[in-house]
Amino acid sequence: MVTIVLITIAFSAILAFVLGTALGFFREKFKVERDPKIDEVREALPGANCGGCGFPGCDGYAEAVATGRSPTTKCTAGGSATAEAVSKIMGVDAAREDVVSVLLCQGTKDVAVSKGEYVGVQTCRAAKLSTGSVKACSWGCQGFGDCVNVCKFDALAMGEDGLPHVNYDNCTGCGMCAEECPQKLFVMVPREKKGSIVLCSNRNVIKANVLKTCKTGCIKCEICVKSCPEKCITMVNGIPVTDYSKCTSCGVCVQKCPTHAYKLLEVDVMGEKKKVPVLEA
């Protein structure tokens, strides 16, 4: 009995040694050359695999950077710190602003008129495809939270008011929400940006029709354009656009806007004033 055990142990040991040696030998013999930079870059990345860079996860992006197929500043999740670290490994200059996502719609349930009852697939894209828009405003937020579903950083949540709300502490500016939104309502804005912005995307040319569909829509009255002391607002495609190189955040446009579509970025959008009830997940 003991002999059998001993023979088994001895045999296993010899087999293990032979196979181990063979493995070690072949590992060196058939070694796949791999750029050490790939692993270095991979180490420096946050590992969220968010896909915000446009590559399949952090591994894909690391390889793309190391082989020179992509710039070093595309990791939005890691922000400027990651960009710097990756640039250092690759030996290039990093110049990247930290951006966050801003929703260009204020059409909450109370102010934006609904077109009718919608009972189809409960996603924004499906609703948009079947109904044009579930709201009377064709440009407004559909409110089914496609953006919330793609956010990898828990930075978006559907509010009780029917709009998604960005948590600016968590938002990394990866841009997945902007990509997903069928209405293209999200814009990426530098986190430190000051100035005013119109939180409306309605491009209906008829003023009366804008108000019929949404109480806080931009009615294209151009009071902002006329009243801006710096003359830095111009109408582009039916929506006023601020020239941030001139804007002093004086807030005149915000005060004058009759439908309160104009907001100050640092105060109303990302600042303390923005306190909204958020649905429990």
Binding site: R125, A126, S130, T131, G132
Partner: protein, 457 residues
Amino acid sequence: MTAKTFRGGAHPPEQKDRSSGLAVERLRDVKQVVIPVNQHFGAPLQPLVKVGDYVKRGQKIADADGRMTVPVHASLAGIVKKIEPRTQSNNLDGPCIIIEAKQPEPVDGVVESTDDFMPPLDPFVCSKEEALARIRAAGIVGMGGAGFPTHVKLAPSKPISYVIANGAECEPYLTIDERTMIERPEDVVEGVAITMKIVNAPEGIIAVEENKMHAIPLLEKAIASSPRTRAGMKIRVQLLKTKYPQGGEKMLITAITGKEVPSGGLPMDVGCVVQNIGTLCAMVEAFRDGKPLIERGLTITGGACTKPANVIAPIGTPVADIIAAGLTAVDDEALRRIIYGGPMMGVAVPNYAIPVQKNTSGVLFMNEEEAVHYEEETCIRCGRCMRACPIRISPALLAVSVETGDYKEAEKIGLLDCIECGSCSFVCPAHRHLVQKFRVGKQILRTIKQKEAQNAR
């Protein structure tokens, strides 16, 4: 005559008896029309008129260059009041030309004609190019629903052996094609003959479902007495089983010829051209009277419709005006859903002020019972959708790949081949919104493919 059919399909309640016995009435004295500028499948048009212009009935009011474009004509003589975005029957806002009826002032006691039609043209004498140019100039598109430009369809790059007149009208409720075949069988036969002449096809077939048997003797009489068949053209009537989607172009071809249109292919790939009954009549009018496509027949019916009707209305007439004219009536209390088109493939719209378009084959006013909505449940893997699918893809599997975002797999299963007929959604015992998912999936897959093509460049 044995009834032919295809494999698969569904049997939704027909509901045609409400309006099938009612003669087509013409809507007269329309006060205002809202004509969408873009009513075809293809490149967008530019308006040719300005606000304040006087336009005649039949005058071209929007056009563009390019093969996949079809002009739009004024369906009413009057003044252009506005050109602004309005909601169209696809629920999207699009530019519309609003014309208010106005009789011209008599000059020297003579009132000028308010019609601006083209001179008549004999399609059997003129060249093929002239005939196609006339069809385009008359603004004719497929009137079954898709709005595909007819002059493109009639210029196939492959030899055609069959011209099929699509009188299947497989959508429940709708009866306008049936009424047209009963009231104007000569025009249907003439339309088939014109199409055969243009595409140089040896055989014409008028396909009719079994529930429209009573139209067949009339069609056969019209065929027998037609000067075209006397001159040697071969046209016959083919009976088809009553089944949805028998009137789908691909199903119709499979049922009649036994051939299958290849994936991603067109009917011309199997030597067929399929034309809607309404389109054929519009073509006849375009040649015989020089009249462009400025009016169309449609069925107005449904459980909440207290006076169902088959109506010929100018393109651009808000459906509310047809009600106001007394041709039809709706019980607003019972009204739960308004659908433009048939119940299977039509679009639910928010109100009935939306105008009739070139591709509006019907307007349905649904009551509570008809518009009942069931909560969507989980797939129970019964496989009924697979049996119902007329193009024999597997909707259950497809839905899984679309939901999980596996578009490579979805494409392999046949997402882009889906004809969106709605048979799978109709038979699904779990009431899954299959077709809507596929429509979304198609949109996303097309975007992915576009991006890939761009990257490859």
